[in-house]
Symmetry: C2
Subunit: 257 residues, 2 copies
DNA sequence: AGATACAAATGATATGATCTTTGAGTGGAA
DNA sequence: TTCCACTCAAAGATCATATCATTTGTATCT
């Protein structure tokens, strides 16, 4: 069973969001994430009904969803108030997508990368004691394929294998919350790729580290798996550091307290 | 400015959920988390309108929210299908609350504790380089107050100080996503307290470790801060381990793939 | 048997009315 | 003047009903 061929065709973005609800939601979410709707400013329902030329049903449903992710707060006699970024559910995949598409893209990439740095080593550690035999074999196989793709200079394939590798580690951690971070990792890796932050021939070290992680997990050596993953993260972090340094380091993000 | 007196009165749970929307949402969310509505089963809007004796608007808005957190999927000509736990946004605070109130409470506590184990050490590391002078002082002060409360055997106060301590570390990490985990940590600590998992006189070690973390952060020694926090997490993890071992270890949770 | 067309079920959207809450103004009393 | 109680209207919350659009099961036709 090839664990790398069919699954890698994941959904990158859902471009043609059909349905009025999705369209309005996406538009408003983007506007809020992009800062076009500043925190504190107020809207009202009828205004939105006019602006988007949809019914109140649609607008209200959208507002409920936005409220549930902390973007807005509706108050009678006042209207719909935009809430500050500190109130957002920054773990909501939709929010992540919007932020990655907005001006705060770099800040978002940075946050997620730091999160990865924290989580993935522990995930590797846990995976070492929880992974199944077949999964472990797949993992080692993936590392091998990554090596091959790296040698061949096939960036596209390398990216997909990389995503799949980290997905499998998080999955094998047996922690539902870690698993859910897989999509964030995929976004970061893809973003890194799009910004040409990966050397055309991946560092030999990185290839070796992936292999180390896989092997340590298969041998059920959690401590070694963690350390290998730490090294991997350190390298990934360094590679990305140049990104947000060149884009004007947003060292203090939404500390709007 | 006392960082521990006014803030500690956070919202534990919002019991009297006013408004039809909140009531129906809470009821359905609880039912899904509790497994009373099994994955795969289908509802339809009119049925819910009858069951809850509310209007379609209310039901539809609730369903949109549930869909946005991955609980359901609405399909024409079919109805509203309950999705498996693997699709849930397990980072949504509302989901956490529902799960902590359901039969999956232990599994949820376990997941969050593992997440803490991964994140907090790195948060401490980052905090060491990003914390402000005043915050650092507050942190050291908190550790001192924890020591006092531990000595005095004032469990209640100790809990609040503990929550505040970890909140401050996460806040000082400068990572918006880490900050958002603060509420989860608070839930875990409170849960641990409610289940009498904390020794009446907190371990001397734990007190010392909190002090170590605070001091290392203040001295901007990230590596030492991380290591101290790792030890803290290890101890916390051990204390909780007995909990989910006695409750029938749910080692494999929703691996409904 | 297989393709095609029809029809029913169900969510999606639209519309208008009514209820409820709450901010702001208004007036009187201390 | 200052402050409290009262009133009113604005805006969301809820309700009720109707129509549209899509999906899918079924019957019909070849």
């Amino acid at each position: 069973m090839e664990p790398s061929s069919p699954e890698v065709a994941a959904a990158p973005t859902l471009p043609a969001e059909s349905g009025l609800h999705a369209r309005v939601l996406d538009h408003l979410g983007t506007a809020i994430c992009g800062g076009e709707l500043a925190p504190g400013s107020v809207l009202n329902i009828d205004e939105l009904v006019d602006r988007y030329a949809v019914s109140r049903s649609v607008v209200r449903e959208v507002l409920r969803v936005l409220a549930s992710i902390g973007f807005i707060e509706a108050r009678r006699r006042v209207g719909v108030m935009i809430r500050p970024a500190s109130a957002w559910n920054v773990f909501d995949p939709q929010v992540i997508r919007w932020r990655l598409a907005s001006a705060g893209r770099m800040a978002q990439l940075r946050s997620i990368t730091e999160l990865r740095t924290a989580v993935e080593p522990h995930a590797a550690y846990l995976a070492a004691s929880r992974i199944g035999r077949d999964e472990a074999s797949d993992l080692v196989g993936l590392a091998a394929k990554m090596w091959a793709a790296g040698e061949a200079g096939d960036e596209e394939r390398f990216l997909h294998l990389d995503i799949e590798f980290h997905r499998l580690v998080l999955l094998a951690s047996g922690n539902e919350m870690f698993v859910r971070l897989q999509e964030l990792v995929a976004e970061v890796l893809t973003g890194r790729h799009k910004h040409h932050l990966m050397p055309h021939h991946p560092h030999e070290q990185a290839l070796q580290m992936h292999a180390d992680v896989a092997q340590a997990i298969q041998r059920r050596d959690g401590e070694r798996a963690r350390q290998a993953m730490v090294r991997l993260m350190e390298q990934a972090f360094d590679e990305m550091k140049s990104l947000w340094e060149q884009t004007g380091a947003p060292d203090r993000e939404a500390t709007t307290r």
